[in-house]
Amino acid sequence: MTDLLAARSQMAMSLAFHIVFAAVGMAMPLLMAVAEGMWLRTRDPVYLDLAKRWQRGTAILFAVGAVSGTVLSFELGLLWPGFMRHAGAVIGMPFSLEGFAFFLEAIFLGVHLYGWDRVGPRLHWLAGLGVAVTGVASGIFVVCANGWMNTPTGFRVENGKAVDIDVWAALLNPAAGSEALHMAIAAFQAVGWAVAGIHAWALLRRPAEPFHVKAFGIAFSVAAITALVQPLAGDLSAQQVARNQPTKLAALEAHWHTQRGAPLQIGGWPDETAEVTRWSIEIPNGLSLLAFHDPDAQVEGLTAVPRADRPPVAIVHVAFQIMVGLGSAMAAIALYACWLALRRRSWTASRPLLRVVAWAAPAGFVALEAGWVVTEVGRQPWIARGWLRTADAVTPMPHLIVPFLAFTALYCLLGVVVVVLMRRQVFASPGLAGRDVAGQEFADDT
């Protein structure tokens, strides 16, 4: 493994790990705020119990998210000092804003986690809302920084250095808006489906248990709304990518040759040597239509740039197919749920819905990871598209496989522990006493 590959792998692993916890940190506060708000309004103790139990699970995930985020801010320098030396000043603003959002979030979180008995109920609920708002804000800011890597703006290059830096133009780069929207929705979608799936599974075992009925209602509402809205946000992103990052679009669609009225390729495997994609289902004019909303638009192909400037096509294309496939599946399930609602059929009484949602629990997170693979790998070989190459930005330190393996081992350990603790929290939920799937007994924690 080359040092560059080790560095890229370490960054990828750190990001893939962190994004799960970041999404939880962005979305769970909203679910908890809804539950706590319902309790304040209806005084139904089940809602209070729900808010507190969700909080116990989330607290662990928050802490792991905070430390894995610290790792990323350090890794920007540890792995990519060349990038930071040239671009650090240009993207400093979104990171500064993100830092502020973190501060506020941590403060609100401290009050929310530990202040149940210290502040009044309304203030406590507002603190929870504060966590939700600042969490989403911090996510938006950091995605703006990532957007800049895709569409670098706000500076000129002179003798290889960035001059005439305009930090606000850099913050409000062309990719920022659509990326931030797409990611914000994705965080809620991933968490909504996962939480809904867990409670759906619980309801299949103990039907009509009030705790899980209410939990499912809140979580699946978020899941369904995001599943239906996300394709529109995705379309906005696709249009931006088509306009500003044509090579990335070509890679994710495995589109080799520039042409008008380009077909959409569903599935298929790209052959990078032969520069052709095989075994795909072609929809005529589909790509031009989706990317530019014009069936005869010209779509640039991968062959328009030299091989050295192309990203790895197979990874990007397959990841894209996974993301869109799962997104479509979630949207379809959401439509089914809408149909049930129109027919005045209760969601939690519909075993088919519960079963499909339980199976679909990981879909949002898998789509989230796949989407990040698309945008990050699709940007290669650039770390700042068109200006800095990833290979030129990496640290000169040798044996990078050592920190890569060390941090991977650390994260594997953390991942295992988190899963174990989450299972304990989940099995401690009401109505799940008795035997679990593996036949082991556990106590009813009421």
Partner: protein, 341 residues
């Protein structure tokens, strides 16, 4: 006062804030490791109760410092991240394990054996990270980091594996432990526990003083630029005098059971030690090859960042005051409080 100097001041302030808040969190972890005697479990409970609500907020100061450094002084950030990769990576490992272990212990709901395991991880990580922070600070000031044509000349080891950085690491560890012990006396109303923490503070104080003197000696011997910045400045007598005075005032206040005063003077002493390091570096950021002005980003970056920090502080300062008011205004755990988590 130029913008880059002002931003450097903000960076230093951020590090000071980290030292007197997050540093005490680390120190608390050390006392968790060293909890002994018949009241060891209660000591651990007090520490967890003290750290719980605030540790996440406290550690954002470090992230803020990192962001201000790479936004405002990118060549310095790049040089530091390259040359000091190893201590930074170890620091990072410590931070990750600490935060995760604390959360697992508090919310994991596991067996006693699980709790002891995570407590051990939490405590050991709390020992390692302060040492690394000090090693990094010492290496930066030591003059051993050489930069030629914008590239740091490094073998990734020799700038930090030397007596000055190591002594600075040890000083940081002891100072954080001392600070935490002083703070912890106010986190409990139990007189016996207060006495426990007071004894620890008084026992650590001479070690802090001794290692501080040793570190200063190494600065004098090994880092002439830093020594000149520390000892040959107009504010030198004032700085040394005030630091010593606050340190001694803390020892005296502890002996007189004036815990609230001790908290202030101890924090002041640690703040001054960090300030001294920062002021001594001036006009360099990495002596001898990189000055602050040479490393600074253009004003078109620094000025907006300063304004953003100012605007953010308007929101943030009251929020912090609120957080500490909610959790630190009351006298701390009453005696024999049942475990709340």
């Amino acid at each position: 006062m130029t913008p880059d100097l002002l931003l450097a001041g903000v960076l230093l302030a951020s590090l000071i804030a980290y030292a007197v808040t997050g540093g005490a969190d680390f120190g608390g972890g050390i006392w968790d490791l060293l909890a002994t005697g018949p009241r060891a479990p209660q000591q651990r409970r007090v520490i967890a109760h003290a750290i719980g609500p605030i540790w996440e907020a406290n550690h954002v100061w470090l992230i803020l410092a990192v962001v201000v450094l790479f936004a405002g002084f990118p060549p310095a950030f790049a040089a530091l991240s390259t040359d000091l990769h190893i201590p930074l990576a170890v620091l990072l490992g410590g931070i990750v394990l600490r935060g995760a272990a604390f959360a697992f212990r508090s919310y994991g709901g596991g067996t006693d054996r699980d709790l002891r395991l995570w407590s051990r991880v939490f405590a050991i990580a709390s020992l390692v990270s302060p040492i690394m922070l000090g090693v990094i600070a010492g290496a930066v000031g030591s003059g051993r980091m050489r930069i030629v044509d914008g590239q740091v000349q490094t073998d990734f080891v020799s700038s930090w594996l030397a007596r000055l950085p190591i002594a600075t690491g040890l000083l940081t560890l002891l100072a954080f432990a001392w600070l935490a012990a002083v703070y912890l006396t106010l986190e409990t109303q139990d007189q016996l526990l207060r006495a426990d923490f007071r004894r620890r503070a008084q026992a650590t104080a001479p070690a802090v003083a001794a290692v501080a003197v040793l570190t200063l000696w190494f600065v004098h011997q090994d880092a002439p630029l830093l020594w000149a910045g520390l000892a040959h400045r107009p504010w030198t007598p004032g700085l040394f005098g005030l630091t010593a005075a606050l340190f001694l005032a803390t020892v005296w206040a502890m002996a007189r059971f004036w815990h609230r005063l001790a908290r202030l003077t101890a924090a002041g002493a640690v703040a001054l030690i960090v300030s001294g390091w920062g002021l001594a570096l001036h006009p360099y950021v990495i002596p001898p090859d990189l000055t602050l002005t040479a490393a600074a980003a253009p004003d078109s970056v620094i000025v907006p960042v300063l304004w953003t920090l100012a605007a953010g502080s308007v929101l943030l300062a009251p929020a912090f005051v609120w957080l500490f008011a909610v959790f630190k205004a009351r006298p701390g755990l009453p005696p024999a409080d049942p475990d709340r988590t």
